[in-house]
Structures are given as structure tokens and as C-alpha cells.
Symmetry: D2
Subunit: 363 residues, 4 copies
């Protein structure tokens, strides 16, 4: 396994779904950043299930605990360790996963790779629950970015094929954070909620698309060729369970455009060089160009569905069926919004430090 990400602002993820805790260590965070448990909790709460009719009734009372690296309310320069303890855990249902791997999950591959020693309860290390660690790290990263004028926002732009109309940052801040699907388009929101409710009734699940935006980035983040903004962000985003695609700016649509349409013309606005369109999604040659960074992330439908599915009995090596019981979100997209924001924040912090844009001590 390889559970660390970043070069100068390095996060290390640890913990399992049904073990003692889920945590994260942040190494390389500058000293002097004010962080409170409330700052972290605020982001964690955005990931919380059970906040609407369409999320799992599981009550995860995730309370962040600071285990190291923060003293008198400020980061010290030492590694920061943040954790949430696991509670309300029911592992009974998962015993099956050992022998009847759930389709669309890591049960089978992890079982082979780790010789059956992997903690299979609740998906163990492969559970979406580990993203609580991502969110805690993201909460710190977000505060650091704020110190250099950068804001990271994400919102749901599609669920079950229902697409939202493009949303402005203000709208995203106001609306998306509050409604059950974290979508900035009120009309689409209603349809999305209805679609998820339908999926719940059909013992099925839905996927969707999340858009992440970073505002206020200076020109110059990104360490090409292999530390480019897009390379580093995509790596971080594909580490989120259920992500199957990542695109920047016009993304796959750019493949269908002509050069004359896709090239963003340069212009001057308020004495600054800008582009008049943003098909590049804020990245040229792997380096931020000062325009909003725009990334879209495809999230597959939740793999755990109550419907019966074909699988195999690994012990007997014969075909079998499985209906996944337990409490699962029929659509993980709304809860993943803050996770996308978090991984963006973590990666942009690392790149900003690497580019010399964040000092070693925050004042």
C-alpha cells in the first residue's frame, strides 16, 4: 500500500471502516496557522450522512480529535494528526464479503492482493469512510489556501443523467452547500432528489458528476512535467473511491472542438493578462494561468445495492448470488462534494508550497 500523497505538504491516510478510527497525518504544514476543532468539524459535518431523506440513516457521529501538531490553537510545524473514532459499527453483515465478493467493490482484489489478511469488515481500508481523513486534511489545507487568497469550491453538476445548468461561484456558495444534493441549480436539484428516491425504492443506486473550482490561484502553480497541476490533481482525485473519470476545463468536449474554438484567446483586463474563455480550465502547460481552475469528476453509482447480483463463492470456486444488506447511500455524490474540494485543497497546497507561494511560518 501507498498511503501518502504530496511532496512538501504530505498527507498520510490511515484507519479502517470498522477498526478503531480513521485518521490522517499532515506533514509539512507551515507553523502559525490558526486551526480549531470547529474548523475541521465544519467540513466533516458536510460529509455527514443522515442529513436528508436521501442519505444513509447510519448515524456517524464523527467528532474530530487533534492528536498531534497543534498547540495553543496554532500549527507548530510538526506533523498534525487528526482522527475520528469509529462508533455505531455493525460488522456482522460483512463476514460474507470474505467469500462472496461484492460486485463493484474491492473485496475480491484486496482479498487476492493481501492473501485474505485484509480487514474486510465494511470494506476495511477500501471503504468510503476513509475519506473522512481526506476531509480533515482538506480543512487544514483550505485554511492555508485562504491565507494566500485561494478558495476551493465544489458542487454537484449531474446525478443519474440529470444535469444542472452552469452555476456561478456565488450561487454555489449559497445554495449548493445547503441542499441535499449540493447542487446550485434549484430545478435540477428537485429532479435529482426525485431520481435518488426512485433509485432507493428500486434497491438501486445512481452516480453523477462533481465539478471543482479553485478561485484566486496565482499564475505559476504546477511543476511540469510530472508535477503539473493536472497530473497531481488527477492522482489525488482518483484516490477517492468510486471516481472513474477526471477532466479539466472543456475536458472530453475539447476532443470534439477545433483548435480555433478550443484555444482560449488572451486579453487584458484590469491590467492583468486573462483569457476570454476557459476551455483550458485554468491550466496551460501544466501550470496555473490565473483563471479559475475547473475540474470535473465522474462518480460511479454506489456499488452496494440491496438487489441480488451475481458473484462467486471464492471458497468453493462456484457461482453464487449476493444482495448487499446494510445501510448504504443510494447516491454517494452529495457526500463526495466536500471530498473533492478537500483533495483539491490538499493538492493545491502542496503545489503552492513547492512553488514557494506559502511561507514556512504563517503570520
Amino acid at each position: 500500500m501507498s498511503n501518502s500523497l504530496g511532496k512538501q505538504f504530505v498527507i498520510t491516510s490511515f484507519g479502517e471502516s470498522h477498526g478503531s478510527l480513521v485518521g490522517v497525518i499532515i506533514d509539512g504544514c507551515p507553523a502559525g496557522l490558526a486551526v480549531s476543532e470547529a474548523d475541521i468539524q465544519h467540513e466533516l459535518d458536510r460529509r455527514k450522512p443522515g442529513i436528508s431523506s436521501i442519505t444513509t440513516p447510519r448515524r456517524e457521529e464523527d467528532r474530530v480529535e487533534f492528536l498531534a501538531g497543534v498547540f495553543n490553537g496554532y500549527t507548530t510545524g510538526a506533523p498534525i494528526c487528526l482522527a475520528v473514532w469509529n462508533r455505531d459499527v455493525d460488522s456482522g453483515e460483512y463476514e460474507k464479503a470474505r467469500l462472496l465478493p461484492r460486485p463493484g467493490q474491492a473485496d475480491y482484489t484486496a482479498g487476492v492482493k493481501y492473501g485474505g489478511f485484509n480487514d474486510y469488515r465494511g470494506g476495511g481500508r477500501f471503504s468510503g469512510r476513509i475519506t473522512a481523513g481526506f476531509v480533515m486534511a482538506g480543512a487544514v489545507a483550505r485554511k492555508l489556501l485562504y491565507a494566500i487568497g485561494v478558495e476551493v469550491l465544489a458542487h454537484t453538476v449531474e446525478i443519474g443523467g440529470i444535469a444542472a445548468r452552469p452555476g456561478e461561484p456565488d450561487k454555489i456558495r449559497e445554495t449548493a452547500a445547503k441542499n441535499a444534493v449540493h447542487c446550485a441549480d434549484a430545478e435540477a436539484t428537485e429532479k435529482m432528489i426525485a431520481a435518488v428516491e426512485k433509485a432507493i425504492n428500486e434497491d438501486d443506486s445512481l452516480g453523477g458528476i462533481i465539478e471543482g473550482i479553485a478561485l484566486g490561484l496565482p499564475v505559476g502553480l504546477g511543476e511540469p512535467v510530472f508535477g503539473s497541476v493536472d497530473a497531481e490533481l488527477s492522482k489525488a482525485l482518483f484516490a477517492i473511491p468510486a471516481v472513474k473519470g477526471v477532466e479539466f476545463g472543456a475536458g472530453f468536449k475539447a476532443a470534439r472542438m477545433k483548435g480555433s474554438q478550443n484555444n482560449d484567446p488572451f486579453a487584458i483586463k484590469d491590467g492583468r493578462v486573462v483569457t476570454t474563455s476557459n476551455n483550458a480550465g485554468g491550466i496551460l502547460g501544466g501550470i496555473s494561468n490565473g483563471m479559475p481552475l475547473v475540474v470535473r469528476v465522474a462518480v460511479k453509482p454506489t456499488a452496494s445495492i440491496a438487489r441480488e447480483q451475481p458473484t462467486v463463492d471464492i471458497g468453493k470456486m462456484k457461482e453464487a448470488t449476493l444482495a448487499v444488506k446494510g445501510r448504504h447511500d443510494a447516491c454517494i455524490v452529495p457526500r463526495a462534494v466536500v471530498v473533492v474540494e478537500s483533495m483539491m485543497a490538499v493538492t493545491l497546497c502542496d503545489l503552492a508550497i513547492r512553488a514557494g507561494l506559502i511561507p514556512g511560518v504563517i503570520k
Copy 2:
């Protein structure tokens, strides 16, 4: 800059478009692998322009030269250094790029980031030409993978909005390698060629989509969470200039499917666990599942077009226009096919070594 990729099989890219050479170092390649200049040259030639009516008339006689790490026809365990020397270089046209950044290129961002000291000739370090190094590394990686029964294939599946029908591996091997657009669908090939010719006539350019496939992968590659197969591959693929999107298996389509459709059912075939569909693209929980690995890469249309485009004069800080002269591919997709294959091979080698699947000495 950050020009190394990988953890155990590490490539370091160097060189510029109009400097002395373009090269690559491979560190961590097992000893005892037979490699000849012909092996490398064969892959390099697939990247060569000037092989058809639709590629640039530039004649890049890229001859690989072994500078280190190979002795008596075998790798020695030492770092392998491979290079192609630059010839047929005409830097005159590029002087402009200093002050009139080309839209869709790195001229502007690199100029700001490196304080104007970057080598701007031919895009310098940001030129597509650096992918010659990727291809040389890929040629070695491909031979290593072959030793464990893994084959990597790529082909063009879309150009200018013209999509190819799905292609079988045999078809890809036979057809795609030979035609001008590296597409396995003869009918689509003709249309794609016509579309590119039209773009040339209109002083414009086209993008497209490349599909990469890895066959024969064992279960167990991938080091979750941050060294997962998808995270590592996406990072490598986004380092290819002009790539704007990466998706695995059903990719963005998965976002529109229901769980019951998207989950790949497990079954047993010839005594092995398989899935009866492959929406996962061969990856579960970031680990290879033994099915074909499938990735699709969106390539934007070539930014350098002869048509006049709005830009800014950086010196005078006022708006201006620019028509990019020089010899550019109107569609880079066909030449990028071998680059996608190469970055896949390099990344899969690294993951295979990290998973203990390739020994330290090949026999």
C-alpha cells in the same frame, strides 16, 4: 519542475525541443533484460511525423542513442540513459513567443513562472517533442511487461467527433498500427483522415480520444490509496501535453448508469474469477482485477494553428494577434497513440515491481 515519475521504476525526462537533445533516464530497471537500439527505434518510429499526408512535413530523424545502462545487449541494473539528438531545428519563428504568447500553449505560464528564463524556442521544455523520451522509456517498459505476459495497446477511437466502433485487440494490433490515424475501424479511419485534411485546409486543428488497453495483467497491481492503478496511470497520462481528460472503463458514462447496470458481475471462467462485463476497466478498489485494463484519454486539438488568434503583447501589455507559422500537426492524436501506450507501460512496470511481480534480475 518535477521531471521524475515512479517509485521503483523511475523515469526522469530531460531535454528541450530546440536544445541539444531529448532524453530519458530509467532508474530501477531490473538487470538482464535484452534491449537493442532496434527495439527502441521501432517504437520511436511509430511517433515519427511525416509518415502520411496528414502529419507535419517536418522530418525528425529521431535515432535513439544508448548513453548508459546497457552493456552487451542487456540492462545492467544501472540507470539507463536514452537520447535522441535534435536536428532540423528552425528556431526563428519562435522568437515571437517570448512576447506574443501562443493561445493554448505554455508560453505565457512558463514565462511568468520561470521569470522569462525558460527556453521558449519551439515550446522548449513544454514541446510535444519531449514525448520522444516517454516513448523510449515505454519501449523498455514494454519489454519488461512482456516478460510477465502483459501487453499494452492503444488506438484512436475518436477524431474531430468521428467515433470508431469498438475494436478487438487483434484488430488493433493488425490495423491500427498501420493506418495514418492508428484507428482499428476502417470506415471511421477514412472519415477521420478526411476530417483532418479539411482541418489542414482551414488552417485549423482537431482533437480526439485514444483508448489504451493492457492485457494479461495479473490480479494485484496497484498500491491504494494513493498508488492505485487509476491514480498512478492518470498522473502519467496527464503529463502528456494536450491531454484534458482521463477515464477508466465506463468512465463518465458510469456516472449515468445505475448500480445494477454498472456493477460487473463476477463469474467463473476456465477456473478463474472473471467479470462478465468490464465497466470497471479492470480496476476494483484501485487494484487490477485480471480483466483488461481500459483507459480513455481526451486529447485537445493542436493549439498551434496558422489562423490568426487574439493574444497579448506581454512587453507592451496590450492586445495583439498572432498566426502561428511553422510545421505543426493539425491533429496530434495519431502520433500520441504510442505515447499513451508508453506512459501506460512505464506506470504498469512501476506498479508491477512495487507489487513484487517482476524480479530484480530477468533470466
Copy 3:
């Protein structure tokens, strides 16, 4: 800060002397290794103070707690998180350190580097207490090495200028582990104890030298040039607070020998290639040669002494004096023996995995 070490078997150290805990994460440990809390506790107890007349009367009841990565008594392949909670903490004395930096300690440099935000209580992140994390990681590493027939041993060879006679492995195992100074030479042991008692009475402190030995190493560990056995071990050993020198084999004495004396002649013994002397300390060209690996580590005298010392008042920028109160070991060498062993074990595990000598699943 940079708190991770290793490439494939990676430890991340976290926690502070007077914070909540001191811990370590091990990422990359193969699955299937049996580890119990007793295994870890056994090593931790060897580091415990208060076990003899010459160590600090502080009672650190360090009980290891498994927070992640172990399930049903076996490693799972997931990151292992081990911690000891801090108790019996008295931070009062340390308030001074903010303004009156203790000579020979990190107070001054950390204060400048982290802008005064560092946790100064008990030295915070710079306390010898963080080596509890090293020891916990070492306990796991040691079990892994054992699985491939490698044993790591350390013993005190000098304290306060009193040198022990060379000790054989059997002697070290039997004697060194038990006596108060962890020395295999009974006669020297008595003198060392007397010397430390004298230092205590004089409000002073002593340093010494620890020798580490690894037995059973196969030929081939080490990834030259920068991942050589000596380069990697020295890096790990200099991370132990108070270490000021590291030498392999004949070490500094080799500088005074002739080539004809220092070169270890090759010979054949029991069908194996051996050397008839071991001035190389088991390393040729940065690679293990199958002979015992021998390293010696110089440990400076404890910096915290009750005697009055000159320092400066950082607030007033004027000279001052300081007598360090608190409970400190007058000689840290005996407690550092297990720390040296641990860092050796951790580093050798990493190198063994990198060389393909430890499989991904232990059976």
C-alpha cells in the same frame, strides 16, 4: 518538517513529548505478519526509563495501542498505526525554554524556524521521547526480518570513554539485554555504571558509543548509489536525537589503515563466499556482502544537565544562565540501544523489500 522515512516500508513519526501521544505509522508492511501488542511492548519496555539506579526516575508507563492496520493478530497490508499515550507529564519547567533556550537542545533553532509556534514543552517534537515511535516501528520490522532469517542486535560499547571489549552475538543477546547499560562486557559494565553515577552526582552527563549488528543478511541489499545500505542506515541513525557520528566496519580507523590491511580478503567457507576479516562492516559498494553488518553510533552526553550553563534571554536579547531542572537521564546511551536496533531494522526492511527479498504476503 519531514517525518517519513523509507520508500517501500515507510514509517511516519508523529506526536510530541507533552502532547496527547507519540506514534508511528508503518506503510508498506506486507500482509500476514503475526504481530501482537506483546511483541511491541517487549521492545518498548527495553527503552523504558526507571529500570535501574542510573536512569531517570520518571515513570513512563508506555503501553502500546494498535490504532490501525492489524486485524485478528495479523498485519492486513494497510497502514499500521501504533501509539503510546502521554501520561505523567509535567510541563511547568519547560515554559522557560521559550525564552531561555537550553544549550545543546533544539529550543533555539526550532524557535527560530517555526516562528515561536513550536510546542516547546519537554522539547516537543525534538524530545527523545519520539523514539518510542521508532521502537514500535522497529518491533514490527524486526519480526519481518526474522521471517527472512535476519537478526538485528545492538549493545553499548563505550560510555564516558570506558570501552567494552568486543562482544560476540551470543554474549550480546544474553548479557547486554539485561544489565543497566546494555553492555556485553561485565567488567566494563561495572565501570560504566560507576561513571554514570559519578556524573549524576556532579550534575553532569555522559555520552557513549553503540554498536549495531545485523546477522543473516543475504548478499544484495542496498540500492546504490543513493539508496546504498550505508547511505540509508546513516540517514535513519542520524535521525535519532543526540547521534553525532556514524561509521561502518573499521570506520574512522579505516582512514588510518593501508589498503593491504583494510581490504577484506575473499575466501570460501562451507561453499559460500566470505571475507576473512570484516573491515567493510558487511557492505561493499553500498550492497550487503553476506557478512555481519556492523555500524557504530556516537551518542553525545545528555544536553539537559542540572548544572548552571550560559544561555541567552531571547526576549531581552541579553546573556543569561540556566540550570535545567526536571528528570533527565545522565546518560541516554543504554536507552538508545533499542532505538539503534529499531532504526536498523526499519531501514533493512525497507531495503529488503526494495530488493525483492520480502514477499507482499507473509505465510
Copy 4:
């Protein structure tokens, strides 16, 4: 193999003794640094053999060639590739090394590790010749350090047991650079030269000790715990072939001192905090403290001696003897002085960039 060193200022070493070239890539060097071939050549020439009666008569006309990363006399931010081509190569003598491994060399361990595929000619990748790459990288690093007021100096302090009296920086700059043994003490110099001449006559060789000093370092370099100044420097220094020991400040002598002697008292001088002694060698808690950084490196006697030595015939697995012909330095210490300086410069650059002390563009 693992041939890259550093995190932000990363050098990658490549090439073999009797291959095409020896080279180095520097990745992460800020843009805008003026570097000329003369700058590099000046340092390379200090490593040159044949400059006195006591070095090998081999005439290595090492001319640096810039292959990438420098444009119009300035670094561009792109990876810098520097090389010297191999000439005057006589590989005949080395064929033996395959079957009769030279005592004290890597022939045996490399042969086993790389399955006999290693380039054994002249020691191949294990030759001291690869340090030409270290010196080229060091020449660039040195210029960067100069830009922030840091100077790195090294000199010979012992050869064959003959110790020099302590040397002041001025003396080192003036004298050590010029005489045949790079020693700042004229009296010791004569004795050292005589000792080396005697060793040559006896077909034997001598080792020695080199002291490296860095002046002008600000407080704050070093990323504890594993990126501390001492940990990183020791790793870099042990990568130099023949180095068997590294110590900082009082080093092994500190092990014999009392705390009250070894602790460096703080004082104020010219409004700055200083220490009145420097047993710490400029490092407290792994962080530079503003005093001169002092490191000493033990170099073993040259392993290649013309005298007959016992070895084994690997093919027949029986004991044999070997006299190493060829042109070898009887004492490598003088030529290693600039190599020690270079590795210090490279490491301190990396740490300075990591600490935010060197900007991304030099002006």
C-alpha cells in the same frame, strides 16, 4: 538501483566508468542562475588526476558538456543535464573482475545482485569516476548557495594517520586548493605527500579524513526528524565511494565528553545569538544554528592495489589470488575533497529550497 537524491533540488546520477559518459541531471534548480561551462569545469578540474606526483598518471580530460536546461547562459527551470564523455579507456584489465572479484570493491556484491549483468569494466557504475557527476551538480549548487551567502569548503585533515592542525577558512581557501593533498597545514602536507609516495612504492594505498565546512548558513535549514541537516548530509556523503564514517562537530569525540563540556553555551555577538564553542558542528535538533557547519568524513584506503591479495574464483568456486593492475590513486583523499564539498553543496541547496530560503527565480 536508486540514483536520485534530494526532494526539491534533485540530482540523478548516471553513466559508467567505461561506458559512453558520466553525467548528472539536476531537477528543481531555480531559473535565472548564471552558469557557464567554465564554472563547472573549474570544479571538475579540482577532481582531475594527474596533477601531481601522487595521483594516477591516467589523463582524464574531463570536459563538461551542457546537454539540457541552460539557455543563453542561465538556468531555465528545466532539468539541467551535464556530462563528461569517457575517453582514454582501457577495459582489458577488468575482464578478470568478473570471475576474480577485487577485495574491497563492489565486484562481488554487484555481480550477485545484478546476476552478472552489471558492467564490470572499471567498476562500471561503482567506479569513483561517477563522482564527476557529483562534482558537476555541486558546481551548480555552489553557485546557488553563493546567491544566499553560503560558502562550502573542504580540506584534507588526515592522511595515513598524519593529522593536520586545525585550519581557518582563509587558510583553506588559499592553501588547500593548491597543494597536492588539499591540506591547509603546510607541515602536515609534506608528511602526507611523503607517506603517499611511500605507499606507492610499496604497492599499497592510504586513506584519510576530509573536513567539510559550510559558512554563512542561516538558522533554519533542516527538516527534522528524517530530513534533518545531519541525516540528509550523511546520506549524501555515504554515497561517495570509499566513505566509511561521517561525524558532525565533535562527532565521536562528543561520546567521550561530559555534557558540561560538550554543550555549546549561547551568547550574543554583534546582536546575533551565537555559541561560544561549536561541538554541535552548527546543528541543533537537526536544524542549522547559524554557526559554521562542520562535518568530517572517513575515507578508506584505495581498494585497488598492485600487491597480490587473496580472492576467490567465482566460476570455479575456489580460492585464488589477484594483483590489481591498472592506474589507481594510492590515496583518493585529495581528489575526494571537491567531491565532499559538492555533495554538501547539493544537499544544502535542497534543504535551503525546502526551507523556502531560495526563490524559484534568481535575479
